[in-house]
């Protein structure tokens, strides 16, 4: 069993290892010997340095952190509210809204990015982080997960509270949320990952590099006039994935436990 696992994992890690090793190569090395496995020197950290000194990764990192933090917070609060309501509160239109949520998960982005931009312009939010955050503040997949999870929470608990006279908000915050910690962790990592790797929309919204997020910054940093700056690209890829990896490692046990009981009915 171990053997099979190790083999498969090694194969999966191979391309990733290339990214890691490649981030220590100079452009000349790539040109001369693209297939070389190991870099000439692991001390060649120029690619990483350049990202922060010349390519502005510092501010981009801050932007990405703000956007992702807001996206995670927004989803943890609003998506769970919506998911809870769709699962546990009977109200007119809830079914339609749920269908719209599921439908929204499948709309191809290229179809809507121009009209989406027009909406932002009408709201006067061009070139702001707010505009980048808004569409991901509440993500359909997060609502979907929370709703599925909420279905698994016994109604009796909620009913008992209602009979005692508790308002819905109180029930939501005091009873429901504590029960769904794992689901919240799930939503946390998914929304963090998605908003962190967001490329096209932040590009469309930006009028200057002040609101660039890391993926946009990486694209600009690694493109040269006639080719790609490969080392910079790979180093950038490493930088970009590190925070997500950290969040994943931190949350993974909740995540797995969470998805398990997500009422996959």
């Amino acid at each position: 069993m171990y053997a099979l696992l190790v083999v498969v994992v090694l194969m999966l890690m191979l391309p990733f290892a290339w990214v890691l090793f490649g981030s220590f190569k100079s452009q000349g090395e790539f040109m001369a010997n693209p297939g070389a496995w190991l870099p000439e020197s692991f001390a060649f950290v120029q690619n990483y340095v350049v990202l922060f000194t010349e390519k502005g990764f510092g501010p981009f990192l801050v932007n990405s952190l703000i956007v992702s933090a807001a996206a995670v917070a927004g989803n943890l609060v609003f998506s769970s509210m919506a998911g809870y309501a769709l699962a546990k509160l009977k109200f007119r239109g809830s079914k339609i809204i749920f269908i719209a949520v599921v439908g929204a998960m499948t709309v191809p982005y290229v179809a809507i990015f121009v009209p989406q931009f027009l909406v932002i312009v009408q709201m006067g939010l061009v070139d702001t982080l707010t505009a980048i955050i808004l569409p991901v503040l509440i993500m359909p997949i997060a609502v979907f997960i929370m709703r599925q999870f909420a279905l698994g929470v016994p109604d009796e608990l909620l009913e008992a509270a209602r009979i005692e006279g508790a308002g819905e908000f109180r029930i939501f915050f005091r009873i429901f949320l504590p029960l769904v910690g794992p689901a919240l962790a799930t939503v946390g990592i998914l929304t963090f990952m998605y908003s962190w790797n967001y490329f096209l929309w932040p590009l469309i919204v930006a009028q200057s590099s002040s609101v660039y997020t890391l993926p946009v910054g990486l694209a600009v940093a690694s493109q040269t006039a006639n080719t790609t700056a490969f080392g910079v690209l790979l180093a950038g890829a490493m930088v970009v994935l590190l925070p997500v990896l950290i969040v994943f490692l931190f949350l993974q046990r909740y995540f797995i436990q969470g998805v398990a009981t997500t009422g996959l009915k």
Partner: protein, 330 residues
């Protein structure tokens, strides 16, 4: 339970109109005892329900529904890039654009290619992830976290970087073929041969998605109660027999979720063919999403919108079919 006694939110009338406990069913629906009570109950549930979903509805309407409606409207016209500054100065063409798209050779080819991608990738991704989850769940004791993280790394690796690696690794004289040579296998032209390009690009998609599926399967497996496992092993069934007859059926809900997620994902496949082969060679890896994007880039806005809605419909139909087929049996 003192905190629950204070009434926060909700109209005062609620308490008095709440029916006696016996009227409460396990599904939470409140069966009212009087018409007057019913109206007030559904009113208050309605209002609070709408308050809870208000942020969702606002964001969804503004940023998804409204743009989608505009995009749909555009697909009923002959709008082109030249018209973007004056979008109303276009002709209403009803379904002409849709027909034009559906009879376009390149669109149909993209449809065929996308089907290939899905058929190749989804079973492999789901299958490999399932086996990995099994092993990680039962087969090994130590280093679980390490393996889980390792398998998840491809999911979070920047796609542009991964695509560059793929482009280099699969050139005719690249490392993959070099490795195969040591096994005396003469590798094909992975990226330049229309036949081999599809699996090569699909491989990138599979690589990137195994981690996600594995996580879901791990979760599902952990949801299987221990007693069931023990009972099965005491039955004398071999390991794989157990897997086949017990584990897989019990994982039906998880499998449904994973299958749907992956099918939707691969139906919309874009980054992989775009970055690795640009839809080539000879259009063999051009997916529907790539077709839509390219049309937009050429200024053919209306066909692009129409194509994306056809894709949307396709995804919807297939997801619905899967829901039917993989619905948990009770």
């Amino acid at each position: 339970m003192a905190s629950l006694d204070t009434r926060v939110g909700g109209p005062v009338t609620r308490r008095s109109s709440a029916p006696p406990a016996s009227a409460v069913t396990s599904s939470g629906s409140q069966r009212p005892v009087s018409p007057r009570g019913q109206k007030r109950l559904s009113f208050s549930h309605n209002r609070i329900g709408w308050i809870f979903v208000a942020p969702l509805v606002i964001i969804l309407s503004l940023f998804t529904v409204l743009p989608a409606v505009i995009a749909l409207a555009m697909s009923f016209t002959d709008i082109g890039a030249a018209d973007l500054r004056d979008p109303f100065a276009v002709n209403f063409t009803a379904f002409d654009t849709f027909i034009q798209v559906l009879t376009d050779q390149t669109f149909l080819r993209a449809l065929f290619n996308t089907t290939l991608f899905v058929v190749i990738s989804v079973p492999l991704t789901v299958g490999i992830a399932f086996v990995l989850a099994l092993i990680l769940n039962n087969g090994i004791r130590r280093l679980k976290s390490f393996f889980r993280a390792a398998i998840y790394l491809p999911v979070i690796t920047n796609i542009v970087a991964a695509a560059v690696i793929w482009q280099y690794a699969f050139t005719v004289t690249g490392p993959v073929n070099a490795g195969l040579e040591t096994l005396s296998i003469h590798g094909p032209n992975w990226l330049g041969d229309p036949v081999w390009a599809v699996p090569t690009v699909a491989a990138l998609g599979i690589w990137r998605n195994i981690g996600t599926c594995m996580i879901f399967f791990l979760a599902g497996l952990q949801g299987i109660p221990e007693e069931v496992e023990e009972a099965a092993s005491m039955d004398g069934a071999g390991y794989w027999g157990r897997v086949l007859h017990m584990t897989i059926p019990l994982l039906r809900p998880t499998t449904l979720l994973v299958m749907i997620l992956m099918t939707v994902s691969f139906l919309n496949i874009f980054d992989e063919p775009y970055l690795v082969t640009h839809g080539g060679p000879l259009g063999s890896t051009q997916s529907l999403a790539l077709w839509v994007y390219e049309q937009f880039g050429y200024g053919n806005i209306a066909p692009s919108m129409a194509g994306s809605f056809i894709l949307l419909a396709l995804v919807g139909i297939i997801a619905a079919v899967q829901f039917r087929v993989l619905r948990p049996k009770h």
